[in-house]
Every structure is written in structure tokens, then in C-alpha cells.
Point group: C2
Chain length 409, copies 2
């Protein structure tokens, strides 16, 4: 279990998060795995809160993911319980029972049905989940619920994260100012031991669950579904969006009325997703890959992910080597429509290859300077069509091997 | 450019390779990139030699791959030219011209059409191919052709390889003993800079090109197409199989008569493929992944490759950690039919998880001892059907980062 990792050189500081009407938080030290720190978060939502969620596509999801999927169609949330240290994955029927026990315990103190309590767990997998430790701190959690606990909440859900992650925006909705705030954790796209990606966003807007789900489903595409650290997919990835309605905005039905809210939500999702990449295990460089000229957006995305997931591209960037040959290789291996002789590649905005061959005499100096920086930009133009995509990743360094390849104690 | 790497701890010594009737070899130092070593191989085949080939699926292949694909339908080979140090990839029309020049130069000394000369290049990509250096040594190569140059040939095609790779078998074909010998190079599934996978196999059997192609197409499935080092796909991967006919076996048409030959060929392909994994960049452990109980063989193979390509599984094994949780994650992310509660996982033959949960009280001692060894075996049973597959990979270590992430000089 990796501990006391140095803070990522790509870390950003946490913004001040004002209270959001309709939600209160409490954290506690349940001792599930960690000692000397809070490891459980309880969030309480006012009656009438709606909810939307997206979850891992991994075929072996954790018990909390199965629980959330089951209750999500209700569209109503009164509580959220998150723990760090044990993911409650691959625990069979005992795992499902532990999930239910946590939800029932929170439901008791919140005065709601268990089916209105959402769950997320992150940590080791295949170890029995000691839900009784969550139950044991539930009364203390309920007694401590306060609106201004965003920072503590962001810290309580961390595992191998080296910095807490939060973002906030405001927007006009139906003539009323509403706030959207969120926290996230994650430092690999996944490491089932420790580094699942979780995000919880709360707004005081009043919006029906179906509208929320449509906004979230669209919003995760260019944010959480466009980042990759190591191509692995957690068994527990969860993004939940809650709307308490405390802002009291009038009902908004037409898409045009939602535009500002949608933009603000997408900015929050984008900020949180990039923080996860910035905390990628061992990351020293944030890499943005822009693909243009693909036959479709879907094709562009696949090419972008092939580049972003290529160990050879990622190690080259760790070595500050603008190795466009490896980028060409990654484009070719994506299996998407591409033609060698139409392909162009730029690093740091300088086109190094065009029309199937190196650009003779291109100026290497700005490229070398760019590679020494902390934020690397790769542009690829396939020259085939109008499909575009943008994805983010980090470099692959000795730090990744240290964190993930260390002997288990 | 990585140099003077220590020999892989998984290296195997090269077998004695007797001459194979109908083929002669010569090597020379053309100075394409390396100094002080041979870097070009010429093989000359007797008239009547048939040929089969399989090539990279990368959409941006090198000029030599395009050349071979174009002439392969002829089914006839009189020559083979291989160079190390420059892959002749992404060089536009100049690359195609360089390939043709090499083929024509060999055709001149061998007295055959250029379209009977096969080519393979490995090394850096995007740098102009100095084919004139190959032309300059062609007369010397032709003068030096001898049948017993297998060992020198295996060495001349190395790039980041830390040991030369060769295998040989005999088989009965139509009542006659025939020999099958091959050499290979490759130390990442790919690194376009240096570590493309190439293999050349020669038999003295007399077999039509169509039969050879069928045998090779089937043979690469469980060998070269079942290994992965880093999930990347070279722009130059090439496997060529030549049959000189010097053994003088009578025509064999029925499948039953080919069985012994097919087995021997598959053993040669298997040996060579595993040597490439054993020389994986930074590899310290050879990993065999067996998948059973999948809905089909194709599905089993995808699950096996998801496990073998997972950075989290590979770093865990580098750390000698029998982390079955990461194996479960990799099964789930493959996207193939799988059910958490039917899944079983074994490491070193010891079943650690069954029916969706850890096997309580399993004996950890033999697993710990197994993880300390150089050859690791993972078994996964999905419990869904009868599909099986076996794939091989190596661990992901600091050595991989050193080799691929070092500053380019």
C-alpha cells in the first residue's frame, strides 16, 4: 500500500467552496483501512433532491455500483455514503449485504428509505467490507452534518491521491443564480487496490432527474470519458450528480434555457477530470492530444486514446523526447481509417511531419523547449474527414512502477 | 538510442542450426546506423523456392512491408534483404524508391527479377533510408553467401535485442525428413525506434505457396499473435516462411500428410515468439496467461490480452505481488461476456478466487514462492462456456522506462 507519496508536480490548489443550499456533509474516521485520518463521508440532501449517475463499464463492478444502478431509476436521493480503504469488490453475497447495511444505517439517521441512499467505496478489492465500522460512526456523522464541509469531504475520499480535488461554478437558470460544486478522487484511471475514480457533484438548481441524467450523460463524454492514465478500467468508477432545488429556480424545460447551466456543469466536470490526470500515478507531465481530420468524432476519439494509452508515446514524453514516430505508430495501431501519406503530426504547435514524411528543416528549438514543460500538446491531423476529439493523459514514469509494482506489505 | 543493454535474465541460448538445403546467407556491415557490427543480411534461395508471409496490421506500415505485400501473390522468392538501424517508415515516395533500390540491387547479384526479392527493415522511423549503403555492400554479400551462416544472420538483424533468437525442428513429410529453421528479432511488441518484430523461417520441404500460406496463417495465431510486450503494434512486423524444395519430398496434398510438418512449424514459431517475449524491454519475468470457460476462443483471447496488456497486472507481477484483484479488473475491462460470480483466478496453479470471491484460507506459501520465480502462470476460468486461449507477456519494470524513456541523444 503506497503511502506518503510526494504531492504531484501537476497539482492545483483547491478553490474555496461555498455552501450549496440543500446539502450538508460530515466525515469521520471509521478505521476501515487507514489510521489517523477521516475515511468515511456522509452527505445529507434535503427532501426533493434529484439524482443522476454514470458508472464503470467494467463487467465485474463492485457491490456499491450494483446498488446505485438498482436505485438510480427512482431519481431521488437523500443520502450519500462514501468510504476509502475498501472497494467492496468481488466479495460475493457478503459484499451486497455490506452495501445494504451501510445504506440502511444512513437511512435510519436521515429518516428516509435505504433506496434513497447512494454508495461508493474505493480501496482494496476482494477483502471483506467491514460495514459495521461505518455503522459504528453513523450517529456521530449525523450529529456533525454541516453545509461547509467541502474541503474535508474531498480529503476523506482520497486513497493514493496526492492532493484533494474540487471545482465550482455558478450559472443563471430561469433567472436565478445557481451553484454547481463537486469533488473527485482518482490517481490512476484505475488501480483496484487504491485508485478508483469517483466524483460527486451537487447543485442547488431545481431540475428533474431525467434532465440531470441527460446533462450528465452528455457531460462525461468530453471530460471523464476523455481521460486515461493507464488504460485500465476500475471496477468502481462512479460519477453522481445531485440537484437539491434549494435555489428555487422556476421549471426550465427548453434546451436553450439550460445552456448556461450545461456549460457550467461541463466546466466543473472538465476541471475535476483534469485533476485526476494531474494526479496520475507517477505523472510529471499533463498531455493533451488533439485529433482532427478523422472520418468521424468516434474515430478521432479512438485514435486519440490509442496515442494517449501507448506506453511508447508516454515513456517518450517522460524522457522529453518529441518522438513523432511513436505517435505515427499509435495512429496506425488504432485500426481506424488513416493513410500514411495524409498524416500530419505536431508537438507543441510545431508541425513535425506532414503528408507522410518528416517536415524537412522544421525548427526543433521550440519543440525541445515545449517538451521540457509540464503541459504537453500533441496535434494529429489524419486528413481524412472532419471528425475531431480531444483526450488527456499523463506520462509513464518510474513513479508509476514504484507505486504499482512495490511489494505488498 | 539504448545500447549495451544487459542480456535479459530470461534469455535462452541459441541452438546449433545446421544448413538447410537451398538457402545461403551472408551478412555485412553497411553502417546504416550501427558501427562495428554487421547490420545487413542477404539470403539467397535456389530456384523454385516458394514463400508465404504475414505482416503488421498497423495502418501506417513501412515501405518494405508495402513492397512485400505487393510481390507476395507471386509466391516465388529468390532473395531476402534485411537491415537493422533504419525502418524505412514514413519516408513518403523516397521510402518506396529506397525499397525498390535495395530489391533491384539484390536481384542483380542473384540473377532474378526484383519482384522475387523480399525486404524487411527495422530501426528508427522517419529518417531517410540510405539504401545506397546496402547497394554498396551487395557484391561483397553475394561473394560471401554460404549455407551455414544462421548464427551470424540472427545477430545481424538485432536492434535492442539482448540475445540472438533461433529455433529448429525436423519432421517427416511424404516419407522424407525435412528441416525447418528460423531466426527472429524483437524486444518490444514494437518500438518503432528500435524493436520491431521480424521472423524468417526456411524449410527444405517442397510445398506450394498456397499451402505454405495456409500453414503460416494458422501458425501465427497461437504464437506471434499471442504475445504482447507493451500492446503497441509495429509499423514493420513481418514473418516470412520460405520453402526451397531441396529435400525432394513428393507432393503432399492431403491435410493428414502435413500434420507432422505443421506441428514442427508451429513449434518453431512458438519458440521464436516466446524468445521475443523473453527479450521484452526490461522484462524480468515471463508470464503465461491461460483463459478457460469463455463463450468462444475469440472471447478468451481478448480476455487473455486484456490481462497481458494491463499495466497494473504487469507492475504487480514485477513487484512479485499475486494481486488477483487486478486480474479481476482486467477481465472486467475486456468487455467480453463474464460474470463476477462465476469467475475463478489461479496464480501458480493455486486457485485464489472462485465463484466471485476470495478462496478463504487458500495456501499462500506456494503462491509467494511462485511469484519469486522467473516464469509466472495465471489461470482464469470465466465459467461461461468452452472457449480457451493462451497468451504470453512479460512484466513491466523500471527497465522498460529506462529503455523507452531515456533522452534521445
Amino acid at each position: 500500500m503506497a503511502k506518503d507519496l510526494p504531492v504531484s508536480p501537476l497539482a492545483v490548489s483547491m478553490p474555496d467552496l461555498p455552501a450549496v443550499g440543500g446539502v450538508r456533509f460530515a466525515t469521520a474516521a471509521a478505521g476501515i483501512r487507514y489510521r489517523g485520518r477521516d475515511d468515511v463521508l456522509l452527505a445529507a440532501f434535503d427532501p426533493g433532491t434529484t439524482v443522476a449517475g454514470v458508472f464503470t463499464r467494467n463487467k465485474c463492478p463492485g457491490a456499491p455500483v450494483s446498488w446505485c444502478r438498482e436505485i438510480l431509476p427512482g431519481g431521488v436521493a437523500r443520502g450519500l455514503v462514501v468510504n476509502a480503504g475498501n472497494a467492496n469488490v468481488f466479495n460475493g453475497a457478503a459484499g451486497a449485504a455490506a452495501a445494504r447495511l451501510s445504506a440502511e444505517s444512513a437511512a435510519r439517521v436521515l429518516g428516509c428509505p435505504a433506496e434513497e441512499v447512494f454508495l461508493a467505496s474505493t480501496g482494496v478489492i476482494g477483502e471483506p467490507m467491514p460495514a459495521e465500522r461505518i455503522v459504528a460512526v453513523m450517529d456521530a456523522l449525523a450529529a456533525g452534518l454541516t453545509p461547509d464541509r467541502w474541503a474535508e469531504s474531498a480529503r476523506a475520499i482520497m486513497t493514493t491521491d496526492t492532493f484533494p480535488k474540487a471545482a465550482t461554478r455558478t450559472a443563471r437558470l430561469g433567472g436565478v443564480e445557481v451553484r454547481i460544486s463537486g469533488i473527485a478522487k482518482g490517481s490512476g484511471m484505475i488501480a483496484p487496490d487504491m485508485a478508483t475514480m469517483l466524483a460527486f457533484i451537487v447543485t442547488d438548481a431545481a431540475l428533474p432527474a431525467a434532465t440531470l441524467q441527460a446533462l450528465l450523460g452528455r457531460g462525461v463524454g468530453p471530460s471523464f470519458n476523455s481521460i486515461t492514465v493507464d488504460s485500465d478500467t476500475s471496477t468502481s468508477d462512479t460519477v453522481l450528480l445531485f440537484a437539491t432545488g434549494a435555489a428555487g429556480n422556476p421549471p426550465v424545460t427548453e434546451a436553450r434555457g439550460l445552456a448556461a447551466f450545461r456549460r457550467a456543469l461541463e466546466e466543473v466536470l472538465h476541471d475535476l477530470a483534469l485533476m485526476v490526470v494531474r494526479d496520475g500515478e507517477g505523472a510529471r507531465k499533463l498531455i493533451e492530444v488533439n485529433v482532427a481530420g478523422a472520418v468521424s468524432a468516434r474515430s478521432a476519439r479512438r485514435v486519440g486514446l490509442a496515442i494517449a494509452n501507448s506506453p511508447l508515446v508516454k515513456t517518450a514524453i517522460a524522457g522529453e523526447d518529441a518522438n513523432w514516430g511513436r505517435i505515427v505508430m499509435a495512429v496506425g495501431k488504432a485500426g481506424e481509417p488513416a493513410e500514411r501519406d495524409r498524416l500530419a503530426v505536431a508537438v507543441g504547435g510545431v508541425w513535425m511531419a506532414r503528408a507522410g514524411r518528416v517536415v524537412e528543416g522544421y525548427d526543433e528549438a521550440p519543440v525541445v523547449a515545449h517538451m521540457r514543460g509540464a503541459e504537453i500538446r500533441i496535434d494529429v491531423d489524419l486528413g481524412m474527414g472532419r471528425g475531431r476529439a480531444r483526450v488527456w493523459t499523463c506520462d509513464l514514469t518510474h513513479g508509476y512502477i514504484d507505486i504499482n509494482g512495490s511489494y505488498r506489505s
